[in-house]
């Protein structure tokens, strides 16, 4: 059971003179995903690069990363985590040290202990906070760099709330095409978030497109309890 109370939306009630938010499990799940999107996901390429160096090809980077996301999704609360990047690194390190190594699934010849110990686990410095925003901006640039057909299919739905049917009718294509393009776009974005450079395949983006300079991602950390 989740004991956390997170202020979401306007479903608030007054209890003994204090405002308390009513939160459903669904809300909490969505809130967790939003946190992962803004605080964890932007650092994934860096974490994977570290993992590749550490595992030296002797463990599956994907396995560790998936386990890490699973753990992050199971946290009872995430609001005490000030530095998503450090927490992500610490989670991955713990998986490597305690699971992969102990189970002897792979002989783990780490990365120097020093490198592990040198990983950040303090509260973010202003530079790191700026870094998180830069990383998120980079992630948003990846959206801008998607092939237009994929990007449109995803944006119409996610950004503008069009149904698949509406999207199909406005783009003048079948629903199946919208569905396929959205899925291909998502898969491509997942690969690129992992830092896989596959930009020379058939999904090469239109070179005339430049990322929207107006994008100015905010740190989406605005989770606050109402008092």
């Amino acid at each position: 059971m989740c004991r956390t109370v997170v202020a979401l939306g306007r479903r608030t009630v007054q209890v003994q003179g204090r405002w308390v938010a009513l939160v459903s499990a669904q809300d909490l799940r969505e809130e967790r995903i939003r946190w992962i999107t803004s605080q964890i996901l932007p650092h994934e390429a860096e974490v994977r690069a570290w993992l590749r160096r550490s595992l030296r090809g002797q463990g599956d980077v994907d396995d560790v990363v998936q386990e890490a996301y699973c753990r992050l999704s199971e946290l009872p609360d995430h609001r005490h985590i000030l530095n998503g990047r450090a927490y992500f690194f610490a989670t991955v390190r713990s998986i490597v040290v305690h699971t992969v190594r102990r189970a002897r699934l792979v002989p783990f010849e780490a990365a120097d202990q020093a490198e592990i110990d040198g990983m950040p686990d303090e509260a973010p410095s202003p530079e790191q906070a700026v870094g998180a925003r830069l990383q998120l901006r980079r992630a948003l640039d990846l959206i801008a760099a998607l092939p237009p057909a994929y990007r449109h299919a995803l944006e119409m739905r996610r950004l503008h709330g069009f149904s698949q049917k509406e999207t199909a009718s406005y783009l003048g294509v079948t629903e199946k095409v919208v569905e396929n393009n959205a899925l291909r776009g998502l898969r491509l974005l997942m690969k690129r978030m992992a830092g896989d450079d596959d930009r020379h395949d058939d999904s090469k983006p239109d070179s005339a497109r430049t990322p929207d300079p107006k994008i100015d991602p905010r740190d989406e950390t605005a989770i606050h309890a109402l008092h």
Binding site: I36, S38, I143, E155, R157, R158, G161, E179
Partner: protein, 309 residues
Amino acid sequence: MPSIDDIASAWAMRGDAGVLDAAEQAELDAWLDADRRHRGAFVRAQAVLNLFDAAPRPEAERVSPRWHRWMRPRAVAVAAMGGLAAMAASLALFLLVPAAPDYATEIGEQRQVTLADGSLAALNTASQLDVAYSHTRRDLTLRQGEAWFRVAHNRARPFEVTVGRVHVRATGTAFSVRRVAQGVRVVVSEGRVLAWVDGSGQRPMAIARGDEALLRTDIAVQAPPVTVDVDQALAWRRGEIGLDGETGLQAAAEFNRYSLRPIRIRNPRAAQYRLVGYFQTSQAQEFAQALARLTRSKVSSNGNEIVIE
């Protein structure tokens, strides 16, 4: 064989497209329960999909709800007592005249309302707005005039403003919509909107922050959005008129939206003179005098109009 990521992404898309039926949900649950990596990959796929929402959007409004004049507690009690009579009367009225708009302003009046979902609507002079919210949609109709909206983010309930044949859709953003002779003018101050004209066969146009678009109902192909000075375009929200090179004639038309005593320009020099600056919407007289001084013309005013000749 599809990879874990392939399966996870397909489930994330299906879940996003709509509510899964019981069989699908059971299938997804079984897949998630089978392996922790499945759960991780699914969460990650959802997070990547969420990047589309991480694009900038307006901060949550901290405006306390306002009582409308007719909603004050005492007024509610009175309304309840008069309820039956009012119901009978409104039923009779309903059959005779078109329904009154949900929100309206008189000439020269401006008004700000907080809507049921926490979105904010600011109505400019001589405007009429209808609001129809359901569980799945937030539909608004601007019958006339101009309005600015700050939309409370909710992707599951699209916020759509209809102005005649023109539609403007947002999920969380801030923008203004104005009915003009040729169509509808849209200015986006935060985030992004999609706008389109019914029956035009054209794709919806994405209008980004800082851009303005004129959606014309009299031609088939729309001009792309242009960058504008949003502060000036939305000066009316501060009770001001922002002028940036408009002619005297255009500026007078702007002032006349706010006044029952219109400015008439009969002097061609004054009509063509270009102006820059901010005026209070209520300062029509001062504006006319300034324009007259600049163009060495004469102002005369009576109770009905202000004439520059």
